[in-house]
């Protein structure tokens, strides 16, 4: 055992963004994620924010956040621009209105939170869906039906033109709506209620 293993643990100041960091991966709603990120960065004296895709000409396309106007203030004083690569390789930037005196520690916290924000935010944006009046949305039914047929999320995503993790979001939402503790249980409940079947495939 190395020396540090025995004596190396020192208390550290709690991460002020801890709640966001711990919960972001489980969020199924983009608005809730935006609110969570806003609360997390507020602890670091940051204000409004906007996540934007970087277009081929270098322009910014606002995607999600609480202040779209920030997309026109890239490079302005008091606006921190954090570059992040989305999971599909798309260059993104998170613009955050910050206090002028932001220090290195705060910047590290913002970068960490921004990376997690973009990762999950892009997936939730992809998984945008109609809110069903009751039961499951059409996309959720399709995802569960194809799961029942043994498809991987990657293959389902190819059919639905979205990423595998976005398919996972649809399935997790379906589980939540059905009160299911597992995918298998969700499929079972949905099948029992006639919401899905092997024949219920794309457009059928």
């Amino acid at each position: 055992m190395s020396y540090a293993l025995r004596i190396g643990y020192e208390p550290v100041v709690g991460n002020p963004a801890r709640q966001f960091l711990d919960n972001a991966a489980d969020m199924l709603d983009l608005d809730a994620l935006v609110d969570g990120f806003a609360s997390a960065i507020a602890v670091e004296r940051a204000g409004a924010h906007m996540c934007c895709a970087v277009e081929e000409d270098g322009g910014l396309y606002p995607l999600f956040g609480d202040m779209p106007e920030l997309a026109d203030r890239m490079g302005a004083a008091g606006v921190e621009a954090i570059e992040v690569e989305a999971p599909d390789g798309t260059p993104m930037v998170v613009l955050i209105a910050v206090a002028a005196s932001i220090d290195r520690r705060q910047l590290s916290q913002l970068r960490l939170a921004a990376n997690i924000y973009v990762t999950h935010g892009v997936t939730l944006l992809e998984a945008a869906d109609d809110e069903p009046a009751e039961g499951l949305s059409l996309t959720e039914r399709r995802c569960l039906s194809l799961t029942l047929s043994g498809w991987s999320h990657l293959d389902i995503g190819e059919q639905l033109e979205r990423s595998a993790p976005a398919v996972g979001v649809h399935i997790r939402r379906a589980m939540a709506r059905l009160g299911a503790a597992s995918v298998a249980e969700a499929v079972s409940i949905a099948a029992a209620r006639g919401m899905i079947s092997h024949q219920f495939v794309l457009g059928a």
Binding site: M1, L5, Y9, V84, Q109, P165
Partner: protein
């Protein structure tokens, strides 16, 4: 395909391991600018010992496209040896016999088509598969925060430890990752991976190289065949962020 290299089959991979260490030098020293020890154009550290296990994915030319190192953390670990002051109090000890460390992960392969996604997922599920088989229930590691998207995207369940810290050209953060049958099952279901996603070649039999032996496995197993390297992807129209897609210390 993804080769698992341990102390048992290391002799078969002498040339491949040399290429791995050259690739690590190219990624971590040349591209990321980390001040690591380089010898004869290759990057090595004190954790590249007999207990280290490597998972390597090769491209169509047989060069190293992606790699990751895992190692039991019961005697020493990079996280404790170098970043202990950033670990929170009360953390489960690393010398409990159920903890391994993951490090030096990188991916030089670009592309978002199905074969590329499956290969990245295969490289990331392999450490979980072999740890699970060994009775390990946790990985620990330290990663650049820019690389967290890959972990989450593939489906690793992370618990970030302590605060992020400036490191190299960016910021790093320590983490522990769940190793469980459920996580492995979910990743497999998400990406449609074979069981297991890696191959282990302990003897060449009548083949001449590990690549020939791997090709023979691929011929017999359609799922493994899907993990063969695809032809090189067309250049991307723009690359604002030029960096490897995965990089853990």
């Amino acid at each position: 395909m993804f080769h698992l290299i341990t102390d048992h089959n290391r002799a078969l991979y002498r040339g491949e391991l040399e290429r791995l260490h050259r690739a690590r030098k190219a990624v971590f020293v040349d591209e990321l600018g980390w001040g690591l020890r380089v010898r004869d154009g290759m990057e090595y550290d004190e954790y590249d010992d007999a207990r280290a296990m490597h998972i390597i994915g090769f491209d169509t030319a047989g060069d190293v496209a992606m790699g990751i190192r895992v190692r039991p953390a019961d005697d020493r670990s990079m996280l404790v040896d170098h970043f202990a002051h950033h670990l929170p109090a009360g953390l489960r000890p690393f010398d409990d016999g159920r903890t391994w460390e993951v490090s030096r992960g990188f991916c030089r392969e670009r592309g978002i088509r199905k074969p590329h996604l499956m290969r990245k997922a295969a490289c990331m599920i392999a450490p979980l598969e072999i740890a699970l088989e060994a009775g390990v229930d946790r990985y620990v590691g330290f990663t650049d925060v820019r690389m967290l998207n890959l972990y989450y995207h593939i489906g690793w369940k992370l618990n970030l430890l302590g605060d992020p810290m400036p490191y190299g050209e960016g910021d790093g953060v320590a983490y522990e990752a769940e190793v469980s049958a459920q996580v492995v099952r979910q990743i497999r279901q998400t990406w449609g991976l074979p069981t297991p996603a890696h191959i282990r070649i302990d003897t060449l039999d009548d083949t001449k190289t590990v690549h020939e032996a791997a090709a023979r496995i691929a011929e017999a197993d359609p799922l493994q065949h899907q993990l063969l390297a695809p032809p090189p992807a067309a250049p991307r129209p723009m690359a604002v962020l030029r960096r490897p897609q995965m990089g853990v210390v």
